[in-house]
């Protein structure tokens, strides 16, 4: 459009048809190039622009605090005055030489294992049951998710009451049937079981639904073929269902590992003080971290512990990744 106008202005009417191309081209290309560049930018940059809010937010609320925590962890930090003196690795040394830290680590893993393993076995079993032809399917499926909807603190309050040492429901029942009561708040292993019970109560249903979805995605032909070959239900379950669940199981295991290492609400609400028991029976890493930070206002030390926890989770994440890779490759070859 503009090109013809210029043509008219310069008065090259007669030669117009011959002359324009060379003039036309560079000008036209320049104009086109801009919009082209724009659209190329659009193509190349837009995706980043669209996801940038998340990352900007992450840098501000995630990365910055993480880095700042690292800085504080090398200091003797005074929260109120906002000042600190650099003391190198002293805070790390202190944390790592505390018997409490190692007890907390032990408890965290113990509670994690006690909750994850039975939880997954139970979830697979329930999912397999729900995968059968049963009446009122939706009712049962929604039913297993109900505990998940409850707030963790509410769950912890109810269970803590049930697990009372003297007048708790569980011990009352145990005594009624002639067994001796369990000291839920003084025996370390018993307290882990009680806390794991709360975790299991909350998360079994959630994992069941995920596993159920995976089970329903398994082609029915496999089962029909197996049935024709004369395989029993049990054999079908172990030879078809379980192997097909592997990728889903990996997902479930990774998420429950992350959740398990950060367990906080349940042990915090387990007794009236929320500091992990008189002998640190159910002190977990996050609970210890909270107590150092918000109980003792020792943020340097808490920051060091936070970084140690971060490194532990990272290490376990790497192990998870390696195992996952192996399994997924196996998966590919078997299919």
């Amino acid at each position: 459009m503009t090109a013809t106008e210029t043509d008219a202005a310069t008065g090259t009417r007669t030669n117009g048809t011959a002359a324009p191309p060379p003039r036309h081209e560079p000008r036209g290309i320049r104009r086109l190039a801009f919009s082209q560049r724009l659209s190329r930018w659009d193509l190349k940059l837009s995706p980043y622009l669209y996801i940038s809010p998340f990352f900007i937010l992450f840098i501000v609320t995630g990365l910055f605090p993480i880095a700042y925590t690292a800085v504080i962890s090398f200091m003797d930090w005074d929260l109120v005055r906002g000042t600190g003196t650099f003391i190198g690795f002293d805070q790390y040394v202190y944390v790592l030489t505390q018997p409490k830290f190692w007890i907390a680590l032990r408890n965290t893993f113990s509670i994690f294992l006690l909750s994850s393993v039975p939880q997954l076995l139970l979830a697979i079993f329930i999912a397999a049951m729900l995968d059968q032809n049963i009446r009122a399917k939706t009712f049962w499926r929604m039913g297993v998710l109900v505990p998940y909807v409850m707030a963790p603190v509410a769950v912890a309050l109810i269970f803590s009451n049930m697990f009372g040492d003297k007048y708790g429901l569980v011990n009352t029942i145990l005594q009624d049937i002639g067994l001796s009561p369990v000291m839920w708040h003084s025996d370390a292993f018993a307290s882990h079981i009680a806390i794991a019970t709360m975790v299991n109560f909350r998360w079994t249903g959630y994992n069941t639904l995920i596993l159920l979805a995976a089970m329903q995605a398994i082609p029915r032909d496999y089962y029909e073929a197996a049935a024709i070959d004369g395989a029993s239900k049990l054999r079908q379950f172990f030879a078809i269902t379980v192997p097909s669940l592997r990728p889903t199981l990996i997902f479930v295991i990774i998420t429950s590992t992350i959740g398990g290492l950060q367990i906080f609400d349940e042990p915090r609400m387990y007794d009236q003080y929320g500091t992990g028991g008189a002998d640190s029976q159910w002190l977990t890493i996050t609970l210890y971290l909270y107590d150092i930070g918000w109980g003792q206002w020792n943020f340097g030390r808490a920051a060091a512990l936070a970084w140690i926890l971060f490194l532990i989770i990272l290490a376990i994440g790497v192990v998870n990744l390696l195992v996952t890779r192996r399994l997924v490759r196996d998966e590919g070859s078997t299919r």
Partner: protein
């Protein structure tokens, strides 16, 4: 002292809930702001229930037309504590901030960030109340509000079953004396009934250690002396020797402990004024709880609060005037009537509104007079320094370990010593 932080939350909530509800019910929306031309707005941050109703604050606004007072209430003392330390020395604190004695030792480390209470007002309060909020440079930084003088609560039906006197005057005479006397009567009770005399070693220990002037730290140097202090070791041994037979082993504020309030698991309990509300709120069906005007080895205090004025606030001078007014005896009496917060002001103790106050649940015990006497019996202001909490918290856990049978007395003491040595 983790336990009492929680304590106050529960205590004030339960103890004052009924009165607060009534007060809130009949308060005629008192915020009648008439345009704020040149008006100064002062904020007062409290927690639980200090008894500062809208009417009370309105009185101040009526007397000072250029001032508007707004109260922010935190749900629990813990919330208030977190907020306080995150903002102290920076911006965002209210003009007048309430603090609790449990975290007073932490606040005292930053006393330079708080405005000093103008001289001449200090004799308004009990000596020990003032002493606890005075720093090393002799600056008083807290306006005392309420205190928790301790008596002994007991179940008269359980006393009767053991052949002990049941009316509160005779019980006071019976228990008059030192801790050895208290445990001696306890042994007698436990032998007669086979039941527990007191609720927990932890709660009883707290009452005992609060009578020691410098239990854990040297007031001059701030050094931790807890593990070498013979007083602490004596108390530890004395309470644990008694607890084997006499304690119900129910940690305070545990679910079992609350159940024990109504099912008679223990016959006595050390009882600050605000504990009455906890008992009556959690043992509604019981008619035999009573309170005796006595406390072993003199007097004891558990809990209480102050108002502070952050020094970098916008209206420090006006805030000081407001804090001064709120903690004057006349206003504190009103707060007591509103929320049961027992006054720390000398003059308030002669006020009939306090001295004539009775508690129906405790068989109409003259609790106003009883706790006034108990407050006057307190002679020691225990020194609580920077590490008080951590040392005391570790001690409470050590006592619990012995009570629940995880460790014996010596092993638990040794673990406590090693834990205390790691503090700092």
């Amino acid at each position: 002292m983790k336990l009492s932080r929680r304590t106050k939350a529960i205590a004030a909530a339960a103890g004052a809930a009924s009165i607060a509800l009534i007060a809130a019910g009949c308060s005629p929306a008192a915020d009648s702001g008439e345009g704020d031309g040149g008006k100064i707005e002062l904020t007062v941050a409290t927690f639980n229930d200090f008894g500062y109703t809208d009417e009370l604050l309105q009185e101040y606004m009526d007397a000072n037309p250029n001032i508007t007072v707004v109260q922010n209430k935190a749900a629990t003392s813990n919330d208030a504590r977190a907020n306080y330390f995150q903002k102290l020395g920076k911006t965002g604190l209210a003009d007048v901030e309430a603090i609790e004695v449990d975290w007073l030792p932490e606040v005292m480390q930053y006393s330079d960030l708080l405005a000093e209470v103008p001289s001449g007002t200090a004799d308004r309060w009990l000596d020990w109340k003032v002493q606890a909020a005075t720093d090393a440079d002799d600056r008083l930084i807290g306006y005392g509000t309420d205190i928790g003088p301790e008596g002994v609560c007991y179940r008269s039906d359980l006393f009767a079953a053991a052949g002990l006197p049941t009316d509160r005057e005779s019980v006071a005479t019976l228990l008059e004396g030192d801790w050895a006397k208290y445990f001696e009567v306890g042994a007698q009770y436990s032998a007669a009934t086979g039941k527990a005399w007191f609720d927990s070693a932890g709660g009883t220990y707290q009452g005992m250690v609060n009578q020691v002037e410098a239990a854990y730290e040297d007031p001059d140097s701030g050094e931790i002396i807890a593990t070498e202090n013979p007083d602490v070791e004596d108390i530890y041994n004395q309470v644990l020797d008694a607890s084997a037979a006499q304690s119900a082993h129910l940690g305070q504020w545990s679910d079992d402990w609350f159940a024990g309030l109504s099912n008679g698991a223990y016959a006595t309990m050390l009882c600050p004024g605000w504990m009455l509300g906890v008992i009556s709120g959690n043992a509604e069906g019981v008619t035999t709880w009573d309170v005796a005007n006595v406390f072993p080895a003199g007097g004891g205090n558990w809990g209480g609060s102050y108002l502070t004025v952050p020094a970098n606030g916008e209206h420090v001078e006006e805030a000081q005037k407001l804090a001064d007014w709120l903690t004057a005896p006349e206003q504190q009496i009103k707060a007591f009537v509103n929320a049961g917060t027992f006054p720390s002001q000398n003059e308030a103790f002669t006020d009939p509104a306090l001295t004539d106050y009775t508690n129906e649940y405790f068989n109409n015990a003259p609790v106003g007079q009883i706790f006034t006497d108990r407050a006057n019996a307190v002679t020691v202001a225990p020194f609580k320094g920077e590490f008080y909490f951590q040392v005391n918290d570790a001690m409470q856990k050590a006592l619990t370990r012995v009570e629940d049978g995880t460790q014996d007395k010596q092993a638990s003491w040794d673990q406590w010593v090693s834990e205390v040595e790691a503090i700092g």
